[in-house]
């Protein structure tokens, strides 16, 4: 009878308190287990990225309101969790996002306008994942956890020291695929990080109806992997914790799960009406933990933020938003004939009659249009 003990189970239990380095008032302290040396320039950069992300996100909401996007899933309030974790990655690492990772995408160098193709409905994706190692958005909840696990298995088989990270929400932890993804990664000792942005809601369903686990980080115990927990609205804690998990994975230590505690300040998507399920008071309380305000407090305390820098960041944010706006407006409607182009690598035997049918319909339409004009 085997009695399997790989890791001291006591050591698998996440700490009672999430890791936090930066207090809402901007005071910074050290954590014995998660040391973080950050240069002033890096602090400014973290702030800058969060500000720009928020502005671009806001612009996307505006574009949706103006009918340019069918939908947007805002990351407002989650910039700390996203920027902090994404900056812990190397360029060679791979990101497997859900649909809410605008901040992560921007760190990876994905053009936001490209990303928003999906919400605009021009095409099903607008970026080449191999250029930025940022996979396509995964809309079916939790499914990307398995892709991240498989990709990481491949890296391990290949002795390639890269790490994959799957971004999922708190709701996603209920799906079977997340379970299977964690288990595969653990069994194959694959360098995959499961980064759970616990923004407290899955659309309208609050965390306590999603799970009775003490914390989401406790879910790691059942896979024999470490479960980390950080204040996701503390970009520095998120960076430090993710770095630790990523380094461990890169060094062959296997997968880990990170729960980043945050809060979705916006509606689930622009189609959602959150007043049906949460109160104004709750929102106001959550706003007090805002990741950007916190970072500004730190910079101000350290006198790292002057008007000039603020203005430069503002300008950059304005430019990014304007670029997004322009690109979205200019984005060509897809060519309908492209419907048939990428279904198969080898399309022979498929779709000839469909292609001919649409071609004929388009021709007839064009002819009718000409006839009318």
């Amino acid at each position: 009878m085997t009695d399997q003990h790989r890791v001291d189970p006591e050591r698998l239990l996440p700490p009672a308190e999430p890791v936090r380095l930066l207090e809402p008032d901007g005071t910074l302290h050290e954590h014995p287990d998660f040391p973080l040396a950050v240069e002033p320039e890096q602090l400014r950069d973290l702030y800058r990225r969060m500000v720009i992300t928020r502005r671009v996100d806001r612009e996307a909401i505006n574009l949706q309101r103006q009918g340019q996007l069918a939908l947007h899933a805002s990351c407002l309030g989650q910039e700390g969790a996203q920027i902090g974790s994404a900056l812990a990655l190397a360029d060679e690492d791979w990101v497997f996002p859900s649909y809410r990772e605008l901040g992560v995408a921007m760190v990876r160098g994905v053009d936001p306008a490209g990303l928003l193709h999906v919400w605009r409905g021009t095409w099903l994706s607008g970026h080449d994942p191999y250029e930025t190692n940022f996979a396509l958005m995964s809309i079916p909840i939790g499914t990307q956890a398995l892709h991240a696990a498989g990709f990481a298995m491949g890296a391990r088989f290949d002795d390639n020291p890269i790490v994959t990270i799957a971004y999922v929400g708190d709701g996603a932890t209920s799906e079977g695929d997340l379970h299977e993804g964690c288990n595969f990664a653990a069994v194959f000792e694959a360098p995959a990080i499961f980064f759970v942005q616990n923004n407290q809601y899955a659309i309208s369903v609050p965390l306590e109806q999603q799970t009775h686990a003490p914390t989401l980080a406790h879910k790691a115990v059942g896979y024999g992997m470490p479960g980390y927990r950080c204040d996701g609205n503390d970009v520095l804690a998120t960076l430090a914790v993710t770095r630790r998990a990523v380094e461990r994975a890169r060094d062959g230590g296997g997968p880990a799960l990170i729960e980043a505690l945050t809060y979705r300040m916006e509606a689930h998507t622009t189609s959602d009406d959150p007043s049906r399920y949460r109160t104004q008071e709750e929102l106001e309380e959550a706003a007090r933990t805002d990741p950007i305000a916190r970072m500004r407090n730190l910079l101000q305390r350290r006198e790292l933020l002057d008007d000039d820098l603020e203005e430069r960041i503002e300008q950059e944010a304005r430019d990014a938003s304007a670029a997004l706006r322009a690109d979205v407006y200019e984005a060509p409607h897809g060519d309908p004939m492209e419907l048939f182009e990428h279904v198969y690598a080898d399309p022979r035997g498929h779709l000839e009659d469909h292609t001919a049918l649409l071609r004929a319909e388009l021709d007839a339409e064009a002819a009718a249009g000409e006839g009318e004009s």
Binding site: A70, L71, H117, V118, W119, R120, G121, T122, W123, L124, I139, P140, I141, G142, G171, A172, S174, E175, G176, D177, A202, I203, S204, V205, Q209, Q210, T211, S271, D272, D273, R276, Y277, H333, G334, P336, L339, F340, V343, H350, L351, H354, L357, L358, E361, L362, A364
Partner: protein, 323 residues
């Protein structure tokens, strides 16, 4: 006062829950939020947390626990939030929900209704516009229905919830806002029967769910061309009311099946196979199919090119009339 299809569905759930306290309604966001389309609006407030409730985000979990609840004695109505998110529940639906009655030689009864908003035409993102009916219709042990108007939405849902068989109830989401002057509750024909919605002489157009309206529009437009179309609303996809279908085609001699789902092994294939078998000598033209393409569902801006519409139907009418 006119009611929409979504309101008719909501009313059907209200009435079903009022009439039978074993009826439960659950799924993702169906409780306090009332569903992303508000189809379950007010049920949580009226019937409480134990009759209408939100589940964790797990579709296999939703259907699997519905099976357990049904075995216990409840009549669960479970919602899959969108068509494309019913797939994680495939195993529970196909291996258990559809088969447990047969496997148990009738001892286990699973009066479960799986509500799925389905189909395209609302400009939604990927996975939110699929037409998965083939997967369910090919699976013996399930009943599959789809209403084409608010009256049927009410009547068929009441019958589905009352049925001792598992029913996949496909709600044509682009018709949620379609209106009717009908007074609820309304009596409609039994679930298993197709209905002739409009009589015609030249071609029978067979449609269901979202495409019934489109077929009727095509019939209007065809009149201008001098063609008389008969429109049959299939209503039930499993069982398929072959008698009504065949009788109509025997009258007209021509048939066109319309659906959003991809053509290959879409419902049109089965209808065509049955019609040519049972009305062989009556057919003056082959049964034709106006359908989506054999590709993944397109991005929203292109769905207009992909979805069958009046034009695509009329082109086939012309072709059928040319034989």
């Amino acid at each position: 006062m006119a009611i929409t299809m979504a309101q008719a569905l909501n009313r059907a759930l209200h009435d079903a829950m009022a009439d039978d306290d074993r009826v439960l309604m659950f799924g993702e966001d169906v409780g306090r939020l009332g569903g992303v389309f508000r189809v379950t609006d007010g049920l949580h407030a009226t019937y409480g947390e134990q009759r209408c409730f939100d589940t964790p985000l797990a579709e296999s979990g939703i259907v699997g626990t519905a099976i357990g609840l049904a075995m216990y004695g409840y009549r669960p109505v479970a919602e899959m939030q969108f068509d494309g998110f019913s797939y994680p529940a495939f195993e529970q639906i196909v291996s258990h929900l559809a088969k447990l009655r047969n496997r148990s030689r009738g001892a286990i009864s699973l009066p479960v209704t799986i509500r799925i908003p389905y189909g395209g035409g609302i400009g939604a993102v990927e996975h939110h516009s699929e037409s998965p009916e083939t997967y369910w219709v090919h699976t013996a042990g399930l009943k599959v229905v789809s209403p084409g108007n608010p009256e049927d939405a009410y009547g068929l849902l009441r019958e589905a919830v009352a049925s001792d068989d598992p029913v996949v109830f496909l709600e044509p989401k682009r018709r949620y806002w379609m209106r009717s002057e009908a007074q609820l509750p309304v009596e409609v024909a039994p679930m298993r029967q197709a209905e002739v919605r409009r009589e015609g002489r030249d071609v029978t157009v067979l449609a269901y769910g979202p495409m019934v309206r489109t077929a009727l529009d095509a019939a209007d437009a065809a009149e201008a061309e001098g063609w008389s179309l008969e429109v049959v609303d299939l209503r039930s996809l499993s069982p398929l009311d072959t008698d009504t279908i065949v009788a109509s085609v025997q009258r007209t001699g021509r048939a066109i099946v319309v659906h959003e789902a991809p053509r290959t092994l879409g419902m049109g294939a089965e209808v065509a196979a049955r019609v040519q078998e049972q009305a062989f000598y009556h057919l003056e033209a082959p049964v034709l199919r106006a359908t989506g393409f054999d590709t993944p569902y397109p991005p929203a801006k292109l769905e207009g090119y992909w979805l069958p519409d009046v034009e695509r139907i009329l082109d086939l009418v012309e072709r059928a009339m040319g034989y």
